[in-house]
Structures are given as C-alpha cells and as structure tokens.
C-alpha cells in the first residue's frame, strides 16, 4: 500500500472535472487485461465484487456465507485525456448471468470495444448480445495472436454477423498505439452515430 500511495500518478490531476468510461469486453483470455494495461497511466487496478448465485451484488461485508457467493473481478485503468477529462477502461468478464454487474458497468458508458480471437469467434457472440440488450454501441477489434488464422474482413464480418456500420479493426493488445487506434475507431463510430438523426 505504501508504494501505491507514494506514487505521483495515484490521484487524478487537480484540474480534471469529468470522467468517462469505455468497456473492454470479450471472452476468457482474449486480451482484455493486456489492452487495459497497455493504455493505462496507472498500474491497472482490480476490483472484486461478491455476487450471490442469483447475480445480485453483496453490498455489505458480513453475513453472507462465502460459499453462496461468487467473486467477479474487473480490471481497470485510467488515461488522462485532457486537463479536464479522464477516461477509465474497464475490462469486463463476459458472463451472462451477472446481470446486476453488467447493468452497473454499462450505465453511463460511452461504448464498448469487443475483443475477439479468430480461433474462436463464436465465443464473442454472448458478449455482443449482452451489449445489444443494453443498447450499448460497440466496435469489434480482432486481437491478432501470433498463431491465429488471418481472414479477410468480409469473412470476419459474416462470421460475427456484424451490422455494416459496426467498425471492425485488428489490433495487438500489447501495443499501446495499436490499442489506442482500436479505441479511436470506436469513438469515431460513436461520433458518427451521434450525427445521424435518431
């Protein structure tokens, strides 16, 4: 704890008045934590939420036996984008049943970046459905692993059943510039959505 508190970067810059969040989502081991870590200016942090089997958050420390709860971890990082504004990136687990956690994460989020792996594209469907159910706009980024097959964009779009307007990009989650480019594609899409009449 001492070393964390000693860090200059621990606190949000004095001038910052606004905070926004973008979710980084995808199936197990797709690179969510890696992408958050590549972009974050603080050591990525983790919060854990105790959920009941029914998917409700346990918002007190005592009284619920541990065996009736599951712990869900979220990684997140922070980027100061201007004197006024910070962006938080939350790496969120794709499990469908944690409805409460998902509602909490999605509320107020600008949008989501869905990371996908060409070796198991179908495992991305669940998380895309979760986003669609909540009306949260998203872009898809193929996290290109070294030994994963490379497909033409049209085949990927068809396999993922993307709308023609949904951005599809390729990234290397370990690389900050590549990861920033994927987020830029998402934000450009959000701006374009905003300009079309509702």
């Amino acid at each position: 704890m001492g070393s964390v508190l000693a860090s200059d970067q621990l606190y949000v810059r004095e001038t910052v008045r606004q905070s926004v969040k973008i979710l980084i989502v995808g199936h197990f081991a797709v690179g969510k934590t890696t992408l958050v870590g590549a972009l974050s200016e603080i050591r990525p942090l983790r919060t854990e939420e105790r959920m009941t089997q029914a998917g409700e958050a346990v918002d007190h420390l005592a009284g619920v036996p541990a065996k009736t709860t599951t712990t869900v971890a979220m990684d997140f990082g922070r980027l100061t984008l201007s004197d006024d504004l910070v962006l938080y990136l939350f790496g969120a687990p794709g499990q469908q049943r944690f409805t409460h956690l998902w509602n909490d994460l999605a509320r107020g989020a600008l949008g989501a970046l869905v990371l996908a792996d060409t070796r198991r594209l179908e495992e991305s469907f669940g998380v895309m459905t979760l986003l669609e159910e909540r009306g949260l706009p998203y872009a898809v980024a193929i996290n290109q692993f070294d030994d994963a097959p490379v497909f033409p964009e049209e085949e990927l779009r068809e396999a993922l059943d993307l709308l023609p307007t949904t951005p599809l990009v390729t990234c290397d989650a370990r690389d900050p510039a590549s990861s920033a480019s994927a987020l830029i594609a998402l934000v450009e899409y959000l701006i374009s959505k905003h300009q079309e009449p509702a």
């Binding site: 704890m1 964390v4 508190l5 621990l10 606190y11 949000v12 004095e14 910052v16 008045r17 606004q18 905070s19 926004v20 969040k21 972009l39 603080i42 942090l45 983790r46 919060t47 854990e48 939420e49 105790r50 958050a57 346990v58 918002d59 007190h60 420390l61 005592a62 009284g63 619920v64 036996p65 979220m74 997140f76 922070r78 980027l79 100061t80 984008l81 201007s82 006024d84 504004l85 910070v86 962006l87 938080y88 939350f90 909490d104 994460l105 509320r107 107020g108 600008l110 900050p176 510039a177 920033a180 480019s181 987020l183 830029i184 934000v187 450009e188 959000l190 701006i191 905003h194 300009q195």
Partner: protein, 117 residues
C-alpha cells in the same frame, strides 16, 4: 477483502454501513470522482477512516477507492454515500451534469486518444 468479521448465523445486511436500509449509492457510478473535504475523521468506523485517509490525497474514482482499499465496489459506494451525507466527501460533477454536448465530449475523448498515437 481486507478483513472478515466472524460468520453470523443469519444474514445481517449493512453491518458496515450502520444499518441504513436504502443507501443513496445509486448517485455513484464506478467512475464518479470523489475527494475528501476535511481531515478530521473522528467518530467514523474503521472502514470510513480508511476511505478518508485515501481520499485526502486528491481525487479518485469510486472504482479506484474500491481497488486501493480492496473493498467490493458496492460496499465502497455505500461507505462513500454515507460520507457524502456527513459532509466528509464531495463528488466532482460527472460528465452527465456538464454544460457540454455529448458530441463535444466525444470529440474531446477522440482528441485525447489521438494525442497518444
């Protein structure tokens, strides 16, 4: 989890939060920025004193407070909303409360990300 009280036979909600039935935690998003307004933390529970100690250094999001104190976010929200009610903690305006259009906000995000390339 930092520490655990002994198991109780029955579910007793809000042990840490002092038994308030309807905490105003919904005012908090995970990214709401909070900071301490005063340095005195006498009379507060140990958990709230830890929150105050952390928040005296500057502003942090609710999620960061939770992570640094190894508390679940939902518990942290309850503690923070109590501390707002008692005047120990203030929140900074969230993006939603600002006199800025969504479009302006998104462009500020875009520019900030482009500056990272």
């Amino acid at each position: 989890m930092t520490r655990r009280r002994p198991e109780r036979a029955l579910v007793r909600p809000h042990v840490v939060t002092g038994g308030r039935a309807h905490p105003t935690r919904n005012i908090f998003d995970l990214v709401t920025l909070v900071s301490a307004t005063r340095t005195r933390a006498t009379g507060l529970s140990p958990e709230k004193r830890r929150v105050m100690e952390l928040c005296q250094g500057g502003a942090l999001s609710v999620a960061e407070v939770a992570a640094h104190l190894a508390l679940p976010a939902s518990v942290t929200k309850v503690l923070l909303s109590d501390l707002v009610d008692s005047g120990h903690i203030v929140t900074r305006a969230s993006a939603a409360d600002r006199d800025q259009t969504e479009d302006q906000l998104l462009r500020e995000v875009l520019n900030g990300l482009r500056a990272r390339l």
